[in-house]
Amino acid sequence: MARPMLRRRSIREKLVTIVMSTTLAALVVSVGSVVAYDLRSYRRALLNDLATQAELVGHMTSAALAFDDARLAGENLALLRSRPSVRAAAIYDEHGALFATYLAPGETGAFPVRPAKGGKPVRAGAKESYLPEGDEVVLYKPISENGDLLGTVYLRSENQLIVRVRDYFMICAGVTLLALLTAWLLVRRLGHTITTPIDAITGIAREVVARRDYSRRAPRISEDEAADLVDSFNAMLSEIEQRTRALEDSNREIAREAEERARAQQEVMRLNAGLEARVQERTAQLELANSELELAIEEARAANQAKSAFLSSMSHELRTPLNAILGFAQILASKDMPTTPEQKQEFAGHILKSGRHLLTLINEILDLAKVEAGALSLSMEPVPLAEVMLECQSMIAPLAATRGIRVLFPEAPAVRVQADRTRLKQVLLNLLSNAVKYNRDGGAVIVDCARPAPQRLRLSVQDTGMGLTPEQVANLFQPFNRLGQEAGTQEGTGIGLVVTRRLVEMMGGEIGVASSPGTGSVFSIELTVAEPAGVAAAAPSAAGTSAAPARSADGGAGATAARTVLYIEDNPANLKLVQEIVRFRPDLRLMCAPDGHFGLSLARSHLPDVILMDLNLPGLSGFEVLAQLRREPDTARIPAIAVSANAMRADIERALAAGFARYLTKPIDIGQFNEAIDGVLATRRVDESQPQ
């Protein structure tokens, strides 16, 4: 509080100081100039007056001097009594000697011996000269008459200038003091008009600062710059009030935003926690997937190993029967090793058996490959189960009989299952042959049928073999995993069960194994029941059996006239085999061609009754040869039979679609060969007879 008071007083003080100093300056300048001017003129007047007196005295006294009348000069000087300021006067003659004197009343003092100013004698015509001596002025005035110096007037007067200066000083001091006093009083009186509005603003400003109350307004007291200041101050206050309000609003807004941000942060943290949980979950899933992947890799590796093992096993399995075939064939072909007809018979039997085994092996491998490649197509149909079981029973009986094993079939249920007939028979034969192979001598094989569900049929084959350990069961369906091979007595491909399981699965069924070491194993398959019908079960069987006699009848009928057979084959061994087979058929006459072109020319020239041809011929392929034959009218109707080592079903279907009447796969089964030729010839005969 003290500082603002001081400052406020200071402003008033400043005002007073300004006014006083201004007043003082004005006073000093004005009074000083007036006084200076007055003193100057006064001095001039004073000196003039003195000079005039001296002149007058000198003039009046010039005659007295000229005619040496000291009395007259003294009387003239005595006239100066009327001027009391003149304290002493004297007249010197032309030689400088004192001529007449005058002293004012009460004045004592000597006169200079000679009129001299600074030692210089006074000359005629010279101006008067003043000599200030203390508070007096001394004047020398030469008296001249007609150019001659007559004498000198000496006047000594009070220096009234000093007195006047002193008086002026006193007056000036008094006037100044009075003026300053008046000015001070006026400022005291009038200063309020300036300070009061400022005080008001200051007070309001102090209150605003102290209380931060920006709604206060300074009162407008006067109508001058202070009023402008008040207006500006008030405008500033309202501006500040507005800004403060805006700032507070903004602060509130910021606080609200901060709160929202905190909330958002909490939300983010919550989401983070969720995210972490999800990450952990995903990590766990990923670990799981990794372990699964590792498992899969392991499985793939195992499969790879199994495949390598499979290849080596397959090589081994293929070589084993080839060994027997080639070995016995060498003995038979060798002239150094003479053999008896009985031995020849026995060796040929070994070769035949091994060849058949090899064929079985290749077929199974092909089946497996097809199954694995997914290329095996099944023709699903309702199959009468009793019929299939009857066929299987008749096929397995000779094998079982060789080892004294009884095979017990149940009463076949009159039911049809949804399956591929051929494949179902293959599956059942595989299971039955395994049960026979891995049985003990004099054991038994028991086949059973059951209906675990109305639409399901279970067939089980039980043996009385050594049984299987759980490890063996686990590896049971791996290729070339021949159980009992350790014993080395039983032949087998090791592929059968693998193909069997795949076939069952493809037919919509399941295969299962239950085994106990030492007592035997039970293999069972489950199939879907097609329909509960059993009346037509015997009909196909009868049809199947009646086909064979008809064929033989055809063969007998064909012996009447020799038929021409053209065989187009580039492999001499295969040519030789066919020539040997045809030699046993007197009703056939064989022509041979090593390639397609020669074959075509032979066909045109001889027009054979049937044409056999290999499909993989050099130059023209079998398909092209056939197409050429069909384009020419003479040969267009000659039936053609394909003979190929390509045993794939797709190849067979393609060939049949291209126009081949039959398709024979190598190695050639002689029975099938004869049957195919006979069938084609019979059809051709019918065709030939019809136009007639």
Partner: protein, 178 residues
Amino acid sequence: MASSAAARGARRLIVCLLLLAGAVHARAEAPGAAERRLKAAYLYRVAAYVDWPDAAFARSNAPLVIGIAGDDALAEQAAQFMAGRLVHGHPLAVRRIGATPPPAGLHVLFAAATPARARLLDAVHSQPVLTVCDGMPERRCVVNLVADGDHLRVRIDRLEALAAQLRVSARLLALGTW
């Protein structure tokens, strides 16, 4: 200050000594020479306080003629004294006046105390001639030089001045009139 005061004192002493020497020298001159020189100076000074009528001068620079009668030594002295001086702008010419009637054109006539003085004065009476007499005072003289001890006093006869159509300065009249 003390030295300058002493110097001033010394100077005054020298001046006093010189004056004494001058007085001794004057005293050494022939008696009457100083008086004549004084009279010559008085003649000159008196003329300066007197105005002649304009008709008294033929031209503005015509000489102011001073006639001296009865005292040749004075005439000689006055001629010597007045050579080169001017009164009211007029050069001064000194003439020796004998027993003969004074010539016309005189402006100042000094008449010594001789028997012929009265006739001279009569001759210039009523003329604009400043008459100056010494010795015994003369009634018809405008200016009388009267010895008063060591001093030579001047007495002006205002009536004579009026008669002679001369205007005499009041300052001169203040010295003494009849």
